[in-house]
Amino acid sequence: MSPVTVIVGSSVGGVRTAQALRSRGYAGDVVLVGEETVAPYDKPPLSKGVLAGTSTGDDITLLTESAARDAGIRLLLGRAATRLDVAGHRVELADGEQLRYDDVVLATGAQARPSPWGAPPGLHVLRTLADATTLARDLRRGGPLVVIGAGFVGAEVAATARGLGVRDVTLVDPAPAPMSRVLDPAVAGWFARLHAEHGVTTRFGVGVDGVEQVEDGLVVRLGDGTPLPAATVVVGIGAVPNDDWLRTSGLRLDDGVVCDRFSRAADHVHAVGDVARVPHPRRGGLGRAEHWTNAVEQAACVAHNIVRPDAPRVHEPVEYVWSDQYDRTLQLTGHTGGALGHVLVPGPDPERSFAALYAEPDGTFAGAVTVSWPRALVVCRKAAGTMSLEEVRQLVSARRPSARTGAVT
């Protein structure tokens, strides 16, 4: 009997694992199980192009039926997995079907953290294509729009809504600045001003007490008592891993599936993407990365480990996440944030582009935030954890185009 790999989860982590198995010459069956009925699709565009109407569902498809057939990937869509029998090597689906496997890949991702204020009409979370489609429809009715949570998703939704011409957009977060978990106060303040310049009302440093349904819409009540009338509310307050279906598996679950450094939760049980909690290669401890690039890199690593169990590879990601807001691209790599010392390096066009470089207390380069300056990002992604801050500062400064350097020095 030919070997079988069952991949549970049809977002980018699952799809890339299937493709990487085939490109490595895996000779067994590859079965890709997805809960949603639509063809596997890519999630980053949901808060940008799909909301804006510049990308369709077809544009963001990761794997069409025909591409799956050509690659020898058996797609089982609209089929939720409900149980994993580790000892019996079986995945049970909601309709009772049992899938036997030799290797299984857990790639069920994460879901939007549910709204603590219920789900009255007009209140949205954004995680799936269906979420994006219904939110896009509501945004076309105009404002007011209140976005609760100024992380990446919330900040992108606010920017996209302004691009759509929604007039009255308010971005609310109990933290003092947007994306404050990963940005220091100076860079976060720069983004707060970017949103304000584009006409977004920002309410930072104040929480939300409740969202009430009224006759003609919703009212978001802030912690200081301010009522914000809203036609549409978006709640972007993080994500929680989809690991409930593994409750009876005996695997260790703790904010995701706990894995070893080879992304293995048990023998022949691998995990990829947002659901996987893995040891951090440099800082120690366990962590989940809810980032596209991490899922793709981990997928390649896990596919290798399935094909070559005799020579498994360690998953050693350098964190990388990007966010497109207005006409700026924000790119983060490594360990960043307000607790670290940092220096700013002006970019080729200092009004629009710069790099913030962060150091660990011992002076080692920890990570960077770059704004609309991809060449600086490349240097920083390669340098994380290996060089001093000063070495990276010199390399990044040297990446300014020579013809334009005179303007900024």
Binding site: P44, A300, S372, V378
Partner: protein, 65 residues
Amino acid sequence: MALVKADLDLCQGYANCVVAADDVFDLDDDGLVVVLRKEVSGSEMDRISDAARSCPVAALRVETP
């Protein structure tokens, strides 16, 4: 032997390809991909295919003739 192709209309400078294979990919001053070497050998296929698949906007292809 395979050929590496990049679609500059799609490239957004995410740099995943450069990090995965800096002997084949780089970025120019405008942050767009530069293919340093168009031909890759069979022994490099896994690595370069992984690099191409790591592009967030599917701007890269590795084509076998």
